[in-house]
Amino acid sequence: MFEYIFIVPLLPLLAFIINGLFHNRLSKGFVQTLAVGAPGLSFILSIALFFKLLTLEPSQRVVEQVLFSWIPVGSLQLDFAFLLDPLSAVMILVVSGVGFLIHVYSIGYMAHDPGVKRFFIYMNLFMFSMLTLVLGNNLIVLFIGWEGVGLCSYLLIGFWFTKKSAADAGKKAFIVNRIGDFGFLLGSFIIFWAAGTLQFTELAQKAPDAFIVGGGVVTWATLLLFFGATGKSAQIPLYIWLPDAMEGPTPVSALIHAATMVTAGVYMLVRLNFLFVLAPTTMLVVAIVGCATAFIAATIGLAQNDIKRVLAYSTVSQLGYMMMACGVAAFTAGIFHLMTHAFFKALLFLGSGSVIHAMSDEQDMRKMGGLRKHLPITYKTFLMGTLAIAGIPLFSGFFSKDEILWKSFSSSNGHIVFWIIGVVTAALTAFYMFRLLYLTFFGEGRYDKHTADHLHESPRFMTMPLVALAVLSVVGGWIGIPYVLGGGAWFAKFLEPVMAQMPAHGGAEAHHDATLEYGLMAFTIILVLVSIYLAYYFYRKNLAKADSLRQSLSVFHKAVYNKYWVDEFYGATIVRPIVNGSIFLWKIVDVLLIDGIANGLARIVGDMSETFRRMQTGYLRGYLTAFLIGVVLVIGFLVVR
């Protein structure tokens, strides 16, 4: 069975190649079937592999498949190889499963787009890259997927390339990710020269000997890798590309910019958890950055009016939670939230896509309202997603988020500050999500007649995936119900073999009372319910109050509405100086200075020859005169001497 691991990424790759080469000769139906079927089959195979993996002893659940030797240079012996263990098994299930559903949805969503074939070609390439990313058995195969998904993201954000904003957003995403990749590469260089390998299993064995706990080498390596992760997973300081990425078609936002690609940074950290635990400083940085990102993005999400932008900032914020989990060494909690988030955020994006579809491409929530009646399925599934992300008990998001919050408090790497900010962020999340829900689905319709006439529930291809994801958003968390709530924390136990133990520092982990855990949990739930009520009060009961609220908080509102002017700041401090500097280098240094010197030398030589050339007049009398003068001078010299 395990010899078929490589088929998982191969299927979408084959679909990409066939459709890419022959799309002109293939019918739209065939292209779609192939493009949707490939991830579907990958999903089925992933399920089979997952269950096969379960039959092994927990300690034996590491399967590697070497395909061929990829970069063999001296001591660097990189194989093109895949690794299946509990972590990658979970990831391929999420990626191919959610990916398949989104592909199905896209059949409906992209039905009328003339570029639908191109769309599916890019999507398949993305699936291949993402599956390679999570299956790679070394950092550089992972990096193929890592930049591959970045490339697909670029192509798909700019899918409607005739729109300047879309092309701009795609380019921005690629370049910002490249900045992160710069860190990724340098980090892997440090690791290679320190440990002599880039392969995960080998590295996990060698790491404790190759690196000193808290030493400069491992700290720099992990910090640089984390910098790479901030690019891909949209964390401070590189999160700026993700909100703009909403220029892409909505299924893209769901697949790439919510469920899969943006979680790659979190995945990478968890994959290398054995390295990160060796670097406490890095862990602290990860936790702080994650926590700050979660909070700041949530505040920006409060004031956005574009339905997809709210969800985009929400994604940044939720990714911050996952990062914070990694930072406090709660890696399993991070992956748990990654999974549940993939379910409910994909659902929310697809739901918003259904809304946008029905609203004739309107994305401004101020022009929506009352859509509950017109889009019943979309509404019900969207509600499930909203409850899940808000962290209402029994929904999937509750369990994963609660585990992160608890660990941020109780872990030996945790701190009460992380917990407080985490809980406040949870409250903000509930607020902006219910604001979105009320503005979109409740109240009076604020759209024009033309739009009203076209309102319709989306076709079956779009609603079926919504229902499937809604089910997952509800039950998806049940595999990780903690002990205190009577569960078995099955998910954490499954991932246990992949996780390194924290090196002991300063005694055993503090033991906490279960009562405390209940208390904190209850506090969070109450706070969330209060903010849901506030959202209800302002955006359902009396919308007018929302305006006065906005006015009374005008300074704050202006700041968050303008996203704290971060883009403008980067533009003024980084982009513009570089462009101006480059123009200076070209016009002044290159053309004026270097070429000036070269041409100047040439001119001097030319002028000199011109001078000498004049002496060759061809007149005999001239030569004779010169000869005579010469003779006189020579004789004179001899005489005088």
Binding site: V73, Y154, T162, K164, D181, L185, A598
Partner: protein
Amino acid sequence: MDSWILSIVAFLPLLGAFFILLLPNDHHVSIKHSAWFFSILTFVASLCLLFRFDTVATGMQFVANIPWVSELGISYHVGIDGISLLLVLLTTFLTSIAILSTFSAVEHSHKGFYASLLLLETGMLGVFVTLDLFMFYVFWEVMLIPMYFLIGVWGGQRRVYAAIKFVLFTMVGSLLMLVALLVLYFEYHTIFGEYTFDLLKITGMPLTREMQMWLFAAFGLAFIIKVPMWPFHTWLPDAHVEAPTAGSVILAGVLLKMGAYGFLRFCLPIFPVATFEFMPLISVLAVIGIIYGALVAMVQKDIKSLVAFSSVSHMGFIMLGMMTLNLQGMEGSIIQMINHGISTGALFILVGMIYERRHTRLISEYGGLAGRVPVYSTFFMIVLLSSIGVPGTNGFIGEFTILLGAWSYNKVYAILAASGVIFAACYMLWMYQRVFYGKITNKANEKLTDLTLREKVVLVPLVIMIFWIGFYPKPFFELMEPSVKTIITQVEKGRGMYEANKEARAVQSALDEEAANGNGDDQ
């Protein structure tokens, strides 16, 4: 038999050039086709080299050594190792592609054009296969003539300026090289009592540190100009912008590699001590080139000069990799020579294709092409990705190994060089956006036609190479590894003398200081 293949490969194009000159002037089609035929024949012959090449052996293979002017120690001495084999293959491959790509671009004097290209090919192959310094110099200079005509006769508006600039820059370097060459020649006679230009004999001859420094500098200047490294690069954008497509392809694809090859074959093995002395200087120039080239490329208005400046950046990577003197860096540097030939060659071909249709290369003249010419846009995107080193393409293999090697050599250089990867994405994607995305704003672009069959045939082999090296570079590394190890061993011989000298100088300066202090105390 084996010893003749190499000469056949090297002189087949020359034969082709003579054959073309015998054809009637106005038979354009037969001129084109025979040029292409001869270039393909040469390529096939060079493939024979590949199949009969022993990948395990070190040393030179297919060696032929025939005394020519024995009184002066000049002989017809050819042979290749893994490195020169790869460059020979690159040359024959790119020349046949360049000739096919140019079928519809040449508008006058077909005969001279194709004969020049073939003559150029023989010159380039000669440089890569010769093991005699005198012959090397001859081939090195011979190349200039056809290239001068290619730019000066079939070039753009400022072609004469560009051609003369190209020749003058190169000549300045090669004159000093000639002097250095003769010094080596006489020095060898002084030591061993024999006059010879034989590279294999000269490599490893004992030379004092000072002598090595002077000679390295003289050879190095010629090579640095050819590479070109900052600040000797300004001939390159002019030459590229003015040269016809085929000229640009060969210029970027092969000619620039001669500078790098010169370092590998001559400077490093013959002057190992000086190599260590000059390493910091060359590395710094390489790093400056990487960043400078990328930044200046970003603000270019002409696509071709953008690609030219990107070459400066890429060649910086190649030189930096070479200076690391470790396997990763050096093998990366050589694979990057191949990569740059393929990717930049392909970029120039692509620019040439659009130029043939619109007769402009200004970015601002375009916009929205992706909707109008999708096949062309896709090819351009693939080549672009290879150029900026996206994993899965050849560019990544080269940049990754070079930077990995550079990290163990000098972290600061590695970090600065790695930032060049970011800028590469900036200038390429920005250009791509302005040319291909958006709406068509220029009426002239509405009538653009997509690629013809011939144009696709030109591009497909390049794209195959891009992915082949991207996913399975192993055969390439295997070919070059023994040769690279040999060079590293040769250079490492100089480390002892270099370090002893450094120490001696340190001790001397310490003594001087002490003496100065001592004097101070006396007074």
